[in-house]
């Protein structure tokens, strides 16, 4: 036994003596040029100096559009790494340089240096869709407009069929329209997932990268986990039910099938987007369903009636029934619109001051014109059977509704200033509420709801999958428990690992770690 103990003791001693002397965790002593500086002209090289010898693992340089610039491999002299500054990065603007090196014991050390040439530009805003121009944005926008149009037309036609009467080719409309709507909804879902993931490497054209990402299963699984996933699936299901109703051959489909299909198809729209993030969610959602349903009914009805009038098959009972129903449904549409507006805008001033408010005013004006025409229809032309005037008026209404749909598309692209907020709670019950928008605002509260006064607060963004190593941004106090940063946050659309750290004393620091998905819309200036 004694021999064994002796052997173990010698072994322990040997291990202790041979423990590596180089202490792990190299840290960056300085960089030349330094982090956050503005230089007149592009430097020849970027020098990183650490406090012990390191081994470079990888590095990436991204310009203001988010495109990656290739870096030549860097010579290492002990604790100093020199990267030759690429010629492709000589333009004025702000650049993000991310580095990752290994310390002597293979512990990785990483960080990001922000460097501006010429002018201190805003932080680079990068979206998966834009490679510097809006052209790559168009496929997603067109898809969205197409989906909305087809969905409203088909859903509205279904509602017309239920409430007013049949119309020729209704089976074809529901059948083909339903299938088309479902396909468009699913395509939109795939594109959404692709924009969330972002391209692995933004060096190719964004359009191709987007397409490649759509067939990536990861894009679909990410998209399905967002509210958009639930919405798209609901819409697609509703559309599929409508298609089923249309494809039932000679038989009359049960009204419930058409009703539920229309409800799901249109109701799905309320499960995501601005209305879904307004408060209270049930009110905004219900208002949106009523508004969209009424609008779809109106839109489809006009088309169907116009068709009937043109074909000379003036279905007088249908026209009268439509007119009577319109008296009830249009006011509902207006009330729902007002409810939505109060939920999405914070103050009446916002109507004039914000882009969203102004679009809303335009929509209101168009709606007013529509109501005037509709009133003329009802009281002047319909009772006297003035078919020609009716036809022209309905055509004019159709044009106005198309304009309204265009404005609605613009509204859906514009942030309504209910900025996206994330609320996270730590193990002790302290919460941070992070609002992202033109200003980054963090509200800190302890478990009993009182604001937390911190000595310093910083927010750290990391997105390893895009090669962006952790960046720390300091927040300044703007009120009790409120810390903000004026400038816009750099954002690749996609999922960021975020950490908010608040030092509340010499020895205490609170930390909240979470993931935040930044939508492409939120990154547009």
């Amino acid at each position: 036994m004694t021999a064994l103990r002796a052997a173990l003791a010698i072994l322990a001693l040997a291990l202790a003596l041979t423990a590596p002397v180089a202490f792990a965790h190299a840290s960056l002593v300085r960089s030349v040029p330094a982090d956050g500086t503005v230089v007149d002209a592009a430097p020849d090289e970027l020098v990183l100096q650490f406090d012990e010898p390191v081994e470079p693992l990888r590095a990436s340089l991204r310009d203001a559009t988010g495109a990656a610039v290739d870096l030549a491999s860097a010579p290492v002299e002990g604790d100093t790494v020199r990267y030759a500054w690429p010629d492709a990065a000589r333009r004025d603007g702000t650049y993000l340089f991310s580095y990752r090196v290994a310390s002597a014991d293979a512990h990785p050390v990483s960080g990001t240096i922000i460097l501006s040439i010429g002018t201190a530009g805003a932080m680079p805003t990068v979206t998966a869709e834009a490679a510097g121009d809006a052209a790559a944005n168009q496929p997603a926008l067109l898809l969205r407009i197409a989906r909305n149009l087809v969905l409203l037309a088909v859903g509205g036609a279904a509602l017309y069929r239920l409430s007013v009467g049949t119309f020729p080719a209704w089976r074809a409309v529901l059948g083909l329209g339903g299938v088309l709507s479902a396909l468009l909804a699913l395509a939109r879902l795939g594109v959404h997932g692709a924009t969330l993931i972002g391209p692995d490497d933004a060096s190719g054209t964004a359009g191709l990268a987007l397409l490649a990402a759509v067939v990536d299963p990861a894009a679909w699984s990410v998209a399905l986990r967002t509210s958009f996933g639930v919405s798209a699936l609901t819409t697609a299901t509703g559309a599929a039910l409508l298609a089923l109703a249309g494809a039932m051959g000679r038989r009359e489909p049960p009204p419930a099938l058409i009703g539920v299909g229309a409800l799901l198809a249109i109701g799905g729209l309320a499960l995501t987007g601005h209305a879904a993030s307004a408060t209270p969610a049930w009110l905004a959602g219900a208002a949106l369903v009523v508004h969209a349903g009424a609008a779809a009914w109106w839109f489809a009805s006009l088309g169907i009636l116009l068709q009937g009038l043109r074909a000379g098959v003036a279905p007088a009972p249908d026209l009268h029934r439509f007119s009577k129903l319109a008296m009830r449904i249009v006011p509902l549409l207006v009330i729902a619109a007002l409810v939505l507006a109060t939920r999405l805008l914070r103050t009446p001033d916002d109507l004039l001051r914000t882009d969203y408010g102004r679009w809303l005013l335009l929509k209101g004006a168009l709606l007013l014109a529509l109501l005037v025409l509709a009133a003329l229809n009802r009281h002047r032309w319909l009772p006297h059977g003035r078919t020609a005037a009716l036809r022209r008026s309905i055509a004019a209404e159709g044009v106005l509704i198309a304009a309204v749909l265009g404005v609605t598309a613009a509204l859906s692209q514009t942030p309504p200033h209910t900025a996206a907020t994330t609320r996270v709670r730590d193990a002790a019950g302290n919460t941070v509420e992070l609002a992202s928008g033109p200003q980054l605002l963090a509200t800190l509260r302890d478990a009993s709801g009182q604001p937390i006064e911190a000595v310093d607060v910083e927010i750290i963004y990391a997105r390893e999958s895009a090669g962006v190593e952790p960046m720390a941004l300091a927040l300044a106090r703007v009120g009790p428990g409120r810390y903000a940063r004026a400038s816009a946050v750099p954002a690749f659309a996609g999922t960021w690992q975020v950490e908010v750290r608040a030092r509340v004393g010499d020895f205490d620091r609170l930390a909240w770690r979470f993931e935040q998905v930044v939508r492409p819309e939120a990154t547009r200036p």
Partner: protein, 172 residues
């Protein structure tokens, strides 16, 4: 506990040595509960190359009889707080306050050098728990705060600047 086992534990502990070196940490991160313990706080480097001028340690509650070891060239100070409930320390002594912070200041420890700061204390009777000694290292330029606690949601992942930890073992 057999002698062989203790020897084996020493081997394991020795093999685990290197990972602790990068941080300000305790030389002995484990100790039996309810015993007298000499904490040896190792400071292996300065703040990004800048020399260390002060080391301040917060003593967690439950620890009694705290005495820092003075160092030539450094000023040592002790901060005490009142206890909510006085403690009976035996021998007829009632203790009404405890040491909450120990600090060595006005020093100059170059980044090229290493030093240890010692405190004796009596550990509480809480086997199986871990005590944290958050430490602030002030340098000529900059401050490093070794105050992060492990994230319960991520066991096994060490924070970047962890507070020195002491694990209380069952009584032998």
């Amino acid at each position: 506990m057999s002698h062989t086992f203790r020897a084996l534990a020493a081997v394991v502990a020795a093999a685990a040595l290197p990972t602790a070196y990068a941080h300000v940490s305790l030389e002995r991160p484990q100790a039996p509960t309810d015993s007298y313990y000499k904490a040896v706080l190792q400071v292996p480097h300065g703040c990004k190359g800048s020399p260390t001028v002060a080391v301040r340690v917060r003593i967690p509650e439950g620890i009694l009889g705290v005495k820092p070891q003075p160092k030539p060239g450094w000023k040592v100070s002790i901060t005490r707080v009142k206890l909510d409930k006085p403690i009976d320390a035996g021998h007829g002594n009632m203790i009404g306050e405890r040491v909450s912070e120990v600090a060595w200041t006005d020093g100059d420890l170059s980044d090229e050098h290493f030093d240890e700061f010692r405190i004796t204390m009596k550990l509480p009777d809480r086997p199986g728990t871990t005590l944290a000694f958050p430490t602030v290292q002030e340098c000529k330029q900059g401050v490093t705060r070794w105050i992060e606690l492990p994230d319960p949601a991520k066991p096994g992942v060490e924070p970047a600047e962890p507070a020195p930890l002491l694990q209380l073992l069952p009584k032998p």
